[in-house]
């Protein structure tokens, strides 16, 4: 089972209308609670409506709450968001506490975020502030006027000294020291 088969779209982190740059706006604009007045599947929903709904509406005046009783059908919560998303959720046989939690989730999210798989967890408009590196960035300006090929710029001085070279240097050093010793003896 791959993501392709799940009808799951992938996307990147975005926020509607630069939310949070100016003032923060709660993105849930209305919530519709559909339930049955007599059926057992709506029991939790009815409890929520009786006990918590008025408080919810009072604390979140920016969210319009609608109740829609329907005979003998499963209870459903529908959230509508400012960016046009609509989240439909079946809460059949869910308890009062579960419904409270789900409604809180619907209220705090900014849209139907569960319908996209995020490819990145960060978004920036300014990927580089000190400037991206280019091949010209730390280039020696002397190279502009240099005659190429030149021994100064073309010399391969990146390799460590070879053993032969080391031996040769040692030998030459020895030669010089023996010469000076000879001179000393001659004196």
């Amino acid at each position: 089972m791959s993501a392709k088969n799940l009808f799951l779209n992938s996307g990147f982190v975005r926020a509607p209308l630069q939310n949070g740059v100016g003032r923060y706006v709660c993105q849930l604009q209305r919530i519709v609670l559909k339930f049955c007045k007599s059926h057992g599947g709506s029991r939790g929903m009815r409890d929520f409506i009786e006990q918590d709904l008025v408080d919810f509406a009072k604390h979140h005046p920016g969210v319009v709450v609608y109740l829609k009783p329907r005979r003998h059908r499963s209870p459903v919560i529908v959230g509508e968001y400012l960016n046009g998303d609509r989240v439909w959720m079946n809460v059949h046989n869910k308890t009062h506490e579960e419904i409270t939690k789900w409604i809180e989730v619907l209220r705090t999210q900014q849209g139907d975020i569960a319908s996209v798989r995020l490819r990145k967890y960060q978004y920036t408009d300014h990927p580089s502030i000190q400037g991206p590196w280019t091949p010209f960035t730390f280039k020696d300006p002397e190279l502009n006027t240099a005659e190429l090929p030149s021994s100064k710029f073309g010399a391969n001085n990146r390799l460590p000294m070879s053993a032969t070279e080391q031996l040769r240097l040692m030998f030459e050093k020895q030669k010089i020291s023996t010469k000076t010793e000879d001179l000393k003896i001659a004196e």
Binding site: G20, V21, D140, P141
Partner: protein, 177 residues
Amino acid sequence: MAMIRASLQKLSRVFHGGQAGILSRLATNLAPVENKSVSEISKDVIAECNQLIEKNASRNFAIVHLLGKQWRVTDGDLLVVEGIWPPNIGDQIKLDKVLLAGTKDFSLIGRPLVQPGLVNVTATIISKGLSHTRTHFKKKRRKQYMRINFARAQQTMLRINAVEITNKINAKASNEC
């Protein structure tokens, strides 16, 4: 320019063990460095950086540590952090664990954090919901073993409001005596 940068890079190696705890790279012209002692050079660089901080003419960025991850943030960025986290939507928070802060011209590297009160990173929580359903599917062949689990993680989206360098380097914090 490149020469200056290169020489400063050399310098920075010296700085690493210096007193200030900053490794600075300046693009602006600096006085010739050859005949000065290490402490003098670091003083010069810090003074130069402090001047730039006072001018406040560049966009700043910072690397902050948040819920076990490091994020490079600048003004207006969006972050999504996963996992249970108490802040709720509309909350303004300050991200205190700043590992590195920088402007166009210099970077301040913390050991491991930059000096407290130097950098001010503020953010607003703009969304808090659950991710898509992730499937954890395990199977061992020929062993009659198969498990399938579904999980949804809490995702909190942050908008970075400002990254400001509010204090001078090596200056005392306001609540320090």
